[in-house]
């Protein structure tokens, strides 16, 4: 029923339809970019995520260089220096840039019997960079005794610097914080790997094969998710023999935490598998003749690699918080191990903290690390999602 357009028409006079322009070179690059490149470009736009990524890298650089960044032996306790507040750093000596601190004299207050510290302005202790300190090995191999900062005379100095004060046993908090970072951040890695393996395997079985396996695994996940985790962790952690070495406790704790933490990853993996089973590209792979293994690993897995990475990055902060919480309560890592949680154990009650608030400082890296991982994970997840805005 369409009306007939009776426009007098000479096809020859109409402009020839040329090939529609594909666009400039930049658009060309987008067409041939690999999946990872596309992800990277999208990720880059998310400024906060990029900054968080840098923060995370900085943290792990700190993990590697903990020895270098610390200046005092983290285990060297000295009752005379118990609960020293952070020293004030003066950055300019006259007009020159030369950081220094005042020497500190401690005395026992005759009335409260507590140690009181006063700065002695007559004694200036300059802070040196790349100074000598206690011995350690870079990456466990090369012995050296250089640290980022220190004071003249190295270990033999009568006084030394305490940037963040000391704890009740007189140990330097800054150095302990550096070492604590090492354990707190790596414990998470190991635990997340365990969760990852469990989650991918179980989630994959569940999603790919469906049926009975799916039902059983799903129900198990639901059961695990309905159980409040902390009482269980507390119980399991308290059950660890007290004679175990620090290392054994460390690994046991991570396994305990990961045993309950794999459920989220498994659900993500299962969801992806389920969604992908119906996708045309999977069906066509099977039709073309790919074996099941090949279909899974060559075609399906790369599709959700990015989701896995994002989910894993988001699982790390949970691990860190869990370990910190357990150690804070005294049930996780114990001295002589040093982690953020162990450091915070000294800040358990408000009276202690009211007098020595610097004992709460280990909370700061916890918060920063958790925020950084969360933002990073968010950014990765957004970058990985092909349908996101």
């Amino acid at each position: 029923m369409t009306a007939e357009p009776e426009v007098a028409l000479d096809p020859a006079s109409a402009p020839l339809p040329g090939p529609s322009s594909v666009g400039d070179a930049r658009e060309q690059r987008v067409y041939v970019a690999s999946q990872w490149q596309l992800m990277w470009w999208r990720f880059r736009k998310h400024k906060i995520a990029v900054v968080s990524g840098l923060v995370v890298i900085a943290f792990y650089a700190g993990v590697l260089g903990a020895d270098f960044l610390a200046y005092a032996d983290p285990d060297a306790s000295e009752a005379q220096r118990s609960l020293m507040p952070p020293q004030r750093v003066y950055w300019f000596d006259g007009w020159r840039f030369g950081p220094y601190v005042y020497a500190v004299k401690g005395a026992r207050d005759p009335q409260s019997f507590k140690r009181v510290y006063r700065a002695d302005p007559s004694q200036k202790i300059p802070i040196r960079f790349f100074a000598e300190g206690f011995e350690y090995r870079v990456l466990g191999l090369i012995p050296t005794s250089r640290h980022l900062i220190g004071v003249d005379g190295g270990l033999d100095a009568g006084q030394t610097v305490f940037l963040l004060g000391t704890d009740v046993q007189g140990r330097d908090l800054w150095s302990r914080l550096m070492y604590g970072t090492r354990i707190s951040l790596t414990i998470g890695l190991f635990g997340v790997t365990v969760s990852l393996v469990l989650g991918v395997v179980l989630g994959g079985l569940s999603g790919f094969y469906g049926g009975v396996a799916d039902t059983v695994i799903q129900r198990t996940i639901e059961i695990l998710r309905s159980i409040p985790t902390i009482p269980l962790w507390m119980g399991l952690a308290a059950a660890l023999p007290r004679e175990w070495s620090v290392l054994q406790v460390y690994f046991a704790i991570t396994i305990i935490i990961s045993l309950l933490g794999w459920t989220d990853l498994a659900r993500v993996v299962r969801g992806r598998f389920l969604a992908m089973r119906e996708e045309d590209f999977v069906v066509s792979a099977r039709l073309v003749g790919c074996s099941q293994m090949r279909t899974i690993f060559v075609h399906m897995v790369p599709s959700f690699m990015s989701h896995i990475i994002a989910a894993t990055t988001l699982a790390l902060p949970a691990m860190i918080i869990s370990e910190t919480a357990l150690s804070f309560l005294g049930l996780g890592l114990r001295p002589p191990a040093i982690s953020w949680g162990v450091l915070l154990q000294q800040a358990q009650n408000v009276q202690t903290v009211a007098i020595s608030p610097w004992l709460m400082l280990p909370a700061v890296p916890v918060i920063i690390a958790v925020m950084a991982f969360n933002f990073l994970g968010d950014g990765l997840r957004d970058a990985a999602d092909p349908y996101g805005r």
Binding site: R219, E222, I223, R225, S226, I227, P228, T229, I230, P231, L232, M234, G235, L236, A238, A239, P241, G271, L274, P317, I321, T324, A325, F328, L329, G330, L331, L344, A347, Q348, V350, V353, A354, P357, M360, A363, V366, I367, V370, M371, N374
Partner: protein
């Protein structure tokens, strides 16, 4: 719908059983038993416990028999309502736990309600007024809630309260009413002390709700049916609340069930920090002392309570909107 409830109920029963086994296993894991730690305790005070005495104690407490026997004994006792004796406090476990369990429930439920009452409206506002000042503030607070672990938040707030206001903000009751019998005054006292612990516990959950609601709603706000509603002449408020909010709420339904265990979990540590008279500090002490009946019962009761709460919320949700169970994938 009955089938759905039936399924959830059966699953709940399984979960409770799993918890009981886990609770029991936890108690049995530490080498030695209560008697060994009792002996050590006595030794540190200077007295010695003879082997014969130790043996008698063991028989008395039923220790030393094979695991499954002990488990079944324990189960039988529990079904009769006998949760055993706390060896450390030398009183029945139920007495020691007392009202602490109920207080744990109260604090957890308060936190849960808070996440909804605060989280949803702020999330809606955030989405509708995207990029406004309010949105940024809400997002920022949300991130604080997610990044700062609840027990650290409790610690910092305790410190600030103490130092700035010379007030002790921990605890659920004023000192005078701490051990008093229940009365209207006591209830009111509890309500007055409740907001801060509930807020600390619920902040992470609130932040989560805000983020999810905001994201869901932003997705829905762009959809055509919102335009249709507007084109009919509905007021903007009704357009938003009746249509996209309603759709955006759907994914929430399945998350409620798992917020409760999370909050209950968190309440344990936060209670330790804040010194609340709930189950948390008690559990910690019991575990350190290896007081078997007490610790195991607490873990069991905590788990059961959580499962029941989750089941109730699931049933409520399905009752409100049968469509929700379709989200169950």
């Amino acid at each position: 719908m009955l089938a759905y409830i039936g399924r959830r109920a059966i699953l709940a029963i399984f979960t409770v059983w799993a918890i009981s086994v886990l609770a029991f296993a936890i108690i049995q894991l530490p080498p030695g038993d209560y008697v060994t730690s009792y002996i050590a305790q006595m030794a540190s005070m200077g007295s010695v416990v003879s082997d014969e005495e130790a043996q008698n104690l063991r028989i008395q407490y039923g220790l030393g028999q094979p695991m499954y026997v002990q488990y079944l004994k324990w189960m039988r006792l529990i079904v009769q309502g006998n949760f055993g004796m706390s060896m450390e406090w030398r009183r029945p476990v139920t007495e020691v736990i007392g009202e602490r369990l109920w207080l744990t429930v109260v604090v957890s439920v308060a936190a849960l309600i808070l996440t909804w009452v605060l989280g949803l409206p702020i999330g809606i506002y955030s989405a509708v007024r995207q990029y406004s000042v309010g949105d940024y503030v809400a997002t920022f607070v949300g991130f604080i809630g997610l990044a700062v672990p609840n027990f650290l938040l409790a610690l910092v707030l305790l410190y600030l309260g103490f130092v700035m206001f010379n007030a002790h903000i921990g605890g659920l009751f004023s000192p005078e009413l701490q051990d008093a019998p229940w009365s209207a005054a006591r209830v009111w006292d509890l309500l007055q002390h409740l907001p801060i612990p509930a807020l600390i516990l619920g902040l992470a959950g609130t932040a989560q709700q805000i983020r999810i609601m905001r994201a869901n709603l932003l997705d829905e706000l762009r959809k055509p049916y919102v335009v249709t509603a507007r084109s009919k002449g509905l007021s903007e408020a009704r357009v938003i609340l009746k249509y996209p909010v309603r759709v955006a709420l759907n994914p929430f339904a399945s998350t409620i069930g798992y917020t409760l265990p999370y909050i209950v979990s968190g309440s344990i540590i936060v209670s330790v920090v804040l010194g609340l008279p709930t189950v948390g500090p008690l559990l910690l002490k019991a575990l350190i002392a290896q007081d078997m009946f007490l610790a195991g019962t607490i873990v069991l009761l905590l788990g059961v309570m959580t499962v029941i709460g989750t089941l109730i919320s699931d049933i409520l949700l399905v009752w409100i909107d049968p469509r929700i169970r379709l989200e169950e994938t």
